[in-house]
Amino acid sequence: MSVQAPNAERQVWIYTQMLRIREFEERVKRSFTDHPGVIRGHTHLADGAEASIVGSLSHFRQGDAALATYRCHGYPLVLGSDPKAMMAEIYGRADGLCKGLGGSMHLTDVKHGFLGTSGIVGAGIPHAAGAAWAAQIRKKGEVVFSFFGDGASKQGAFHETLNIASLWKLPVVFVMENNGYNVVTTTAQEDANAAAGEPLAIKAKAYSMPGVTIDGGDPLAVFATVGAAIERARSGGGPTLVESKIYRLSAHGNIIAPPGVPLHYPEHEAIAVFGRREEYEAALRGDPVPRFRGTLVKSGVLSSGKADEIAAQVAKEMQAAVDFALKSPFPKLESALEDVYA
């Protein structure tokens, strides 16, 4: 199945969304130094995965659903969530997307089809399959996007779910964002396929479903591959495993420390743990956001002037999210006891 490439307008939309994710998350990262103590616990950034996220979600339609992991800021931004409510959630405020009950790791926006995010690696994969069962019963051609990392493919939940999803031909696309590292463990250190020099997408073969490996830094490649998988799922052909190879440009998350210790983002594990500065610098040179801007300017889809204009707009939008979140009050104490039961 081949998918028609996105037109110029859509390509600009893709670039804009990629930039929105980057600018939002830059401000999450900067909050640790600009506004110490405002963000608690653990945050995880998707810098380097923007092309994969946006290229995939370009195919999202009304009625579809997406589920993801604790690294979850990018998806709702693309699906239409309000960055102000998202930042307020990450700051633990009353105007937060989830009333300050979930935080950075558990962004959820049902109204925009973003159904849920589990902070437990791999645990959300069966949830996506369950939502896909519901879609299968509704018979409206709706699909579910399941996003997770390479680490999750070592969990039982991944294997059990891929088996059932293939067996039942569920309308779900599994997008594995392979960023090469499970926290501080490289893929080759924990994955038999990687150690043998094979792509992780080969795991799909065990469950008799298509498995494809793509350059997740190229939004048009992601658009084409995930688009074909989505079409297959919509038409009743069943699931596909897409291994989207990306490079996480920040460390796994901010440092883990008890209260009182200022939080910050440490150096990437490639440098901090393995001393591979050249690997990291090469990844920076291949940063998908400027790379796609270059592609669009070169192909004439976007002028430099227009690109700068978009950048200024996006920066303004995301700064407004920070300003809003800082002013939002903390939730009322009683609200901690609401929403335990429906």
Binding site: K111, L115, P126, A128, A129, G130, W133, A135, I164, D339
Partner: protein, 322 residues
């Protein structure tokens, strides 16, 4: 009213809800493998499916389907199989409503048998109720009669939260009068199975019947025991227990789980805190002995609470009464 075995009453509850609500699903291992399967024949494979032996995926899929608007019932057979997927039961299903700030509902039922002390040895005999009752967001149901099995299952399916439905395996064939037609039993309403003014006995599942046997024996000695069956332990109807204790002043808690993994311990704590002045004697807990359930029959019987131990405990709390 029809006379039904306990297990058929549970099925009747599932049928009642599947007939009225097309969003109810029923699935699990080793079921629905032929077109003649009663649920497949009635509702079709869209809603009734066999799964592989994949508890994490089964329960996880139920969670996703529930978040997407369906009402799944997962057939797990044995409560221990939930241990394989404990993350999904404890740290996924009950968390999503809360963490989403009330955006999602996760209405699902995890149907699992427990306490099968019939020579099933160490891994299929546990009474794990207390493991689940302290998890905010989960509800936990423990029917002891056929009528409640039907009515509590129906209520569990209609509930908008994840519900762990624990049916005691030794009650499987126990017959009972079950109301025909729509039957619902509310959560959080204990049932007084036998009235009495001398001592309050609280028990769940199969232990309710052991407590009732003990009460009959005690009546022969002139001791009137009140036997309370909470029916659901989350939510727990503490009021009914406290009212009874206000009348009797004495409390014996019976639980099939080992000493420090019981619902009894939690009730004892609540009664000590909220009803201390009502008590004329210390609360006594009759629990399983602190060990894995042994295979050999006399050893198994020695470990699990029985009528004799309940009777002895009651005599103990009544010793020297004025």
């Amino acid at each position: 009213m029809a006379q039904l075995p306990f297990i058929a009453a549970i099925d009747a509850g599932i049928h009642q809800e599947m007939r009225r609500d097309p969003s109810v699903l029923y699935f699990g291992q080793n079921m629905a493998t032929t077109e003649n399967h009663e649920f497949v024949a009635a509702y079709g494979h869209d809603r009734v499916r066999v799964t592989p032996i994949s508890e994490t995926a089964e329960i996880g899929i139920a969670i996703g389907a529930a978040m997407a608007g369906l009402r799944p019932v997962v057939e797990l057979y044995m409560a221990e199989f939930m241990l394989v997927a404990m993350d999904q039961v404890v740290n996924e299903a009950p968390r999503f409503r809360y963490m989403s700030g009330g955006q999602v509902k996760v209405p699902l039922v995890l149907k699992a048998g427990f306490g099968f002390t019939a020579g099933w040895a160490g891994q299929h005999t546990g009474s794990l109720t207390a493991l689940f009752m302290g998890v905010p967001g989960l509800k936990v149901v423990v029917p002891s009669t056929a009528a409640d099995a039907k009515g509590l299952m129906a209520t569990a399916i209609r509930d908008d939260n994840p519900v762990v439905f624990l049916h005691h395996y030794l009650l499987t064939l126990e017959p009972g009068e079950v109301p025909d037609g729509e039957h619902l039993v509310p959560f959080g309403k204990a049932e007084v199975r036998r009235s009495g003014g001398d001592v309050t006995i609280v028990a769940t599942g199969w232990m309710v019947h052991r407590a009732l046997d003990a009460a009959t024996t005690l009546a022969g000695e002139g001791i009137q025991a009140e036997v309370i069956d909470p029916r659901t332990v989350a939510p727990l109807d503490l009021d009914t227990i406290l009212k009874s204790v206000a009348k009797t002043g004495r409390l014996v808690l019976v639980d099939q789980a080992p000493r420090h993994a019981t619902v009894a311990g939690i009730i004892a704590g609540d009664v000590a805190e909220h009803g201390f002045s009502l008590l004329k004697a210390p609360i006594v807990q009759v629990t399983a002995r602190d060990t894995t359930v042994p295979y050999s029959e006399p050893l198994e019987a020695y470990v699990i609470p029985d009528e004799e131990r309940i009777v002895a405990a009651v005599r103990g709390v009544l010793k020297g009464r004025r």
